[in-house]
């Protein structure tokens, strides 16, 4: 049962993340700290790679579905936010448009320098 063993690994890293976050008083979520701990663990060639992969891949595939219960709540706010919808939609759509353009443009500029300094992009 590699998937179950892998799930136990993931829970172990999540709980470790929870312990770090609580003890250090970090404002970051336990999941993100657990993710970084898992990355470090794998880079140090800790065990359980195949088991972790068996559990991680299906979980990553269902990531979008896991936020659905929260997302659906917005449809039940319609009355409360009457009169604000234009501002909210403009902010979300316009803001995302601008921030995507900024990211792409920034990365192209910053990477252009790296690539010309190095001999070329890695394969």
């Amino acid at each position: 049962m590699p998937a179950l063993r892998g799930f136990l690994w993931l829970l172990g890293f999540l709980l470790s993340g929870e312990i770090v976050v609580t003890l250090a008083g970090l404002p970051v979520s336990a999941g993100v700290v657990g993710m970084l701990l898992l990355t470090c663990w794998l880079m140090l060639h800790g065990g359980g790679f195949d088991d972790i992969a068996a559990a991680a891949q299906p979980l990553i595939a269902m990531l979008a579905m896991l936020i659905m219960p929260g997302v659906v709540g917005v449809f039940f706010l319609v009355d409360e936010l009457a009169g604000q919808w234009m501002a909210i939609l403009a902010a979300l759509v316009g803001g995302t448009l601008l921030s995507v353009l900024t990211t792409l443009w920034l990365m192209r500029r910053l990477m252009g320098k790296t690539v010309s300094r190095a001999s070329g992009p890695p394969a």
Binding site: G31, M35, L66, M68, G70, F75, L81, A91, T103
Partner: protein, 236 residues
């Protein structure tokens, strides 16, 4: 009928079954219609689910209580992203300098653009606080929004719209700017489009997916550290 429904809502099973069914139906529907890649199944699935809840007159709070069992998996799923991160580490290491230079600025601007536009259009402070974390992955964004005093439900809705728009715009803008590098495209998807953008990036390629995981997690960390601070400085 309503007694039976109340009985079924006594356990999380009905809420979980409805969520899974809506998700499957969304995926199936988009596949049959041959929908474009920028339209994620979760958009259709959420609309379907909201419709079913309204039709059955299920209170959202009741549904949410049951579905919280499903959202519990968000924790291990976030941890799981450490795997692709590890697998693509050589690629990420080669680019650490531009990635690190770009990230804090881009992550803060993602929040600033949206809050700025809403402020210009006269949205009240509570709405502004709900929009600030719109590009941040859900488990972190919930914490930030509570800290800023926003509405978590509105923020989650904003997350959905942001994810959908980011997926569409990244494809278009990359073409427009002549960017074909999957590493940049993946990074932009994760930074701006959180988990939804990351799922899309994995459809493009494993490399894009790993860079999206990286963009998503770094944006989460930077936002969690800087947004509450920036909020206090702005005096909002």
């Amino acid at each position: 009928m309503s007694e039976l429904l109340d009985h079924l809502l006594g356990t999380p099973l009905l809420a979980i079954a409805l969520t899974l069914a809506a998700n499957m139906a969304g995926i199936r529907l988009l596949r049959t219609l041959g929908a474009p890649a920028w339209c994620p199944p979760i958009l259709v699935a959420s609309l379907l689910l909201a419709g079913v809840l309204a039709l059955l007159a299920i209170d959202y709070a009741d549904y949410r209580r049951g579905a919280a069992w499903l959202m519990l998996l968000l924790g291990p799923a976030t941890v799981a992203l450490g795997l692709p991160l590890h697998q693509q580490m050589p690629q990420i290491r080669a680019l650490w300098r531009p990635l690190l230079a770009c990230l804090p600025l881009a992550a803060l601007l993602a929040a600033a653009y949206a809050v700025g536009i809403a402020w210009l259009l006269g949205a009240p402070p509570e709405t502004l606080a709900s929009l600030a974390a719109k590009s941040v992955t859900a488990p972190i964004a919930i914490g930030i929004t509570e800290q800023l005093g926003g509405s978590v439900s509105l923020m989650m809705g904003g997350l959905l719209i942001t994810g959908v728009v980011a997926i569409g715009v990244v494809g278009l803008a990359a073409g427009l700017l002549g960017i074909r590098d999957e590493r940049i495209i993946g990074f932009a998807l994760g930074l701006n489009g959180h988990a939804l953008g990351t799922v899309r990036a994995f459809e493009i390629s494993p490399v894009a997916g790993a860079f999206a995981s990286l963009g998503m997690s770094l944006t989460g960390i930077v936002s969690a550290l800087l947004l509450p601070l920036a909020w206090r400085l702005m005096g909002a």
